[in-house]
Amino acid sequence: MSDAVFDSLEEVIVDERFPEVDLMLRRGRHIGRDDGSLYDYLVEAQALLEPFYRRFGGELIQQSDGYFYLLPSGERLGRRQLSVGEMLVGQVLALLYLDPATLQHGGMATREALLQRLSGLLGTDALVRTLNPRRRKYDERIAAETVRGKADEALRKLADLGFIDVVDAARLRLRPALMRFAEPVRGLADPSDALERLVARGEVLLGDANDMDDDSGDAEGEEVLS
């Protein structure tokens, strides 16, 4: 931190932005430059907040793309893994974030573009099977409806986590935090090695998450609570 705005942890905590930022971080929210003064606060208080959260068993992480998030590593802070739907939607949004066509619209993408990319990359059948692992037979119309429903659900949760902003019914503003989904392939190393490193750092969990996309409307990824 070059500009030492805060001299002590007390000053950091007394700041009026602390409660909001603290709650957001503990709820898994990614705080980026788009969040304005909250991001500035984190930049200014980073040196003092890092040891503060470490005492709770969490790592306050700042990425070069311009966002912060809290990664629980111990037992004290609750954490959850993202569901299959959230992961797929997140990765496709990251791809859209990298696309110059999105740049033309100032970082806006549409739900329709997301679904087109999603089915284009995975194939409709694979997509339906991945999002509905328990259903062996499916009607095309119902399957499409289910996929749209799952995507909407995933978008809502990704918006809560600060990966995107939902502008209106059709448009989404993509945020730099989406680059977390591209983390395993950002370097030139083998993706498997990169994934292992991310696992070691407690950033990701490998393998299938069996019961994460159940049919309940409020289903979330598996919760790992202390």
Binding site: G90, L103, E223
Partner: protein, 435 residues
């Protein structure tokens, strides 16, 4: 034919088979003619001039085209058929023709000319003229004495001259909006095709547009303030002169000017956001991935999801447990009834064997000479309560069948034996012998 009669208008367009088919070369040719006429003050063109101009246009639009002279002849003919060019000399074949642009052609070209973008020069010129015009109208308004003065020297200039100028600024604003959209598309296209090597060009495009917008906004901020002040003075004079028409005309122009001012602020803000976003993109995405490998690797990662899935961890604080407000517990009384000895002592009662008595009563009735089942039933039922009649009727028939010889016709008649009961009747032919 009036403008308010769409049926007749459409019918006549269909009858005349009106259609417009202008190629780029045609539009360029017409634009060249329009500008030449404008510059040289020409009312019409000689045929040779038309052909020369077409050849010049052809050199630019289709440099490889063969036989431009012949193409010029066809183009002139095509434009005449579409009422874009009109021959005005009336000499027929006697000499080469003289042609003029029609109103339609002028309107088409004026549309393209009017669609130009707002520039620092055009905006300064327009705002300067507008300010002078408004000052002039204000001076006139101060001297206006009659309604006629107000109408001719204030309301009319406000509506027409000032209105046209303000509309001209708005039109150019729309042109600049379109230009910005094109720049955004161009930046996206440059990055799509050249990626890393397009950074500098994108940067200069961004900077140029930002500079233009800043300049325009400065002019608008400064000048719209003057316009509104002048217009408010005119409006105040109109109010004191109780001239509603002039007051409304000034109000309309004030609203237009406000809109123009708001445009500047909104566009600068929007462009500033876009500018920052593109800068971040260039820095975080393009510069860090000069070979544009990341997108492909990410695509592969998604396609291979089924074989190599992973899940990000995020913090997930449990929901706060909200305790309910304290309520006094309501004691519900247990359901109970007073203790008592509900056993009663047994008592001797008369035996009831009404059904057993039926046979006796049937026998007695037979002895009395009753000769039909209905008669037997009526007689026996009369001695019993109403609630047992249905059951008893069957037993009477049973007893009658056992005690007497009965006969029934093929169609057994139904006989009423009580208020709600009928039986199929039999005839008694005498008692059976008792065994």
């Amino acid at each position: 034919m009036t403008a308010s009669d769409p049926n007749r208008l459409i019918a006549s367009l269909v009858r005349d088979q009106v259609n417009l088919d202008l190629k780029t070369a045609d539009v360029c040719f017409l634009a060249g003619l329009y500008l030449r006429a404008d510059k040289a003050g020409l009312a019409s063109f000689e045929e040779d001039l038309l052909i020369d101009l077409f050849e010049q246009v052809c050199d630019v639009v289709e440099p490889a085209a063969e036989n431009p002279r012949k193409r010029a002849t066809h183009a002139i003919q095509r434009l005449r058929e579409q009422r874009m060019l009109a021959r005005v000399d009336g000499a027929g074949i006697v000499r080469a023709g003289e042609y003029a642009l029609t109103r339609l052609a002028a309107a088409v070209i004026e549309y393209f000319l009017a669609d130009e973008a707002l520039t620092r020069e055009s905006l300064s010129l327009l705002t300067g003229t507008l300010r002078a015009q408004l000052a002039d109208i204000l001076a006139t308004a101060r001297k206006a004495h009659s309604d006629e003065d107000w109408r001719q020297r204030v309301v009319a200039p406000l509506r027409i001259t000032v209105g046209d100028m303000v509309a001209g600024i708005e039109r150019r604003q729309r042109g600049l909006d379109a230009q910005q959209e094109e720049i955004q598309a161009e930046i996206a296209s440059l990055l799509s095709t050249d990626w890393f090597s397009a950074i500098d060009r994108c940067q200069s495009l961004l900077d140029a547009t930002t500079h233009t917008l800043r300049e325009l906004n400065e002019i608008l901020l400064r000048d719209t303030h003057h316009f509104v002040a002048l217009l408010q003075d005119i409006q105040a004079l109109a109010v004191s002169a109780e001239n509603v028409e002039a007051e409304e005309a000034a109000q309309r122009v004030i609203e237009h000017v406000d809109r123009i001012g708001a445009w500047g602020g909104a566009r600068q803000k929007a462009w500033s956001e876009y500018y920052q976003y593109v800068h971040r993109y260039l820095r975080d995405v393009v510069r860090l991935d000069p070979d544009r490998a990341l997108s492909q690797r990410l695509r592969d990662q998604i396609a291979d999801w089924e074989n190599r899935s992973f899940h990000l961890f995020v913090a997930h604080a449990g929901s706060i447990c909200l305790l309910r407000p304290l309520e006094a517990r309501v004691e519900r009384p247990a359901v109970a009834r007073p203790r008592t000895d509900r056993e009663t002592e047994p008592a001797w009662v008369e035996t009831e064997n009404a059904l057993a008595d039926i046979e006796v009563m049937v026998s007695r009735a037979l002895d009395e000479g009753v000769d039909t089942l209905a008669g037997l039933t009526v007689q026996v039922l009369a001695t019993l309560t109403d609630d047992s009649q249905y059951v008893v009727a069957g037993r009477i028939a049973d007893a009658a069948a056992r005690l007497a010889r009965l006969r029934s016709s093929r169609e057994r008649p139904w006989r009423e034996v009580g208020e709600k009961l009928e039986v199929e009747d039999w005839t008694v032919q005498g008692r059976r012998k008792v065994e």
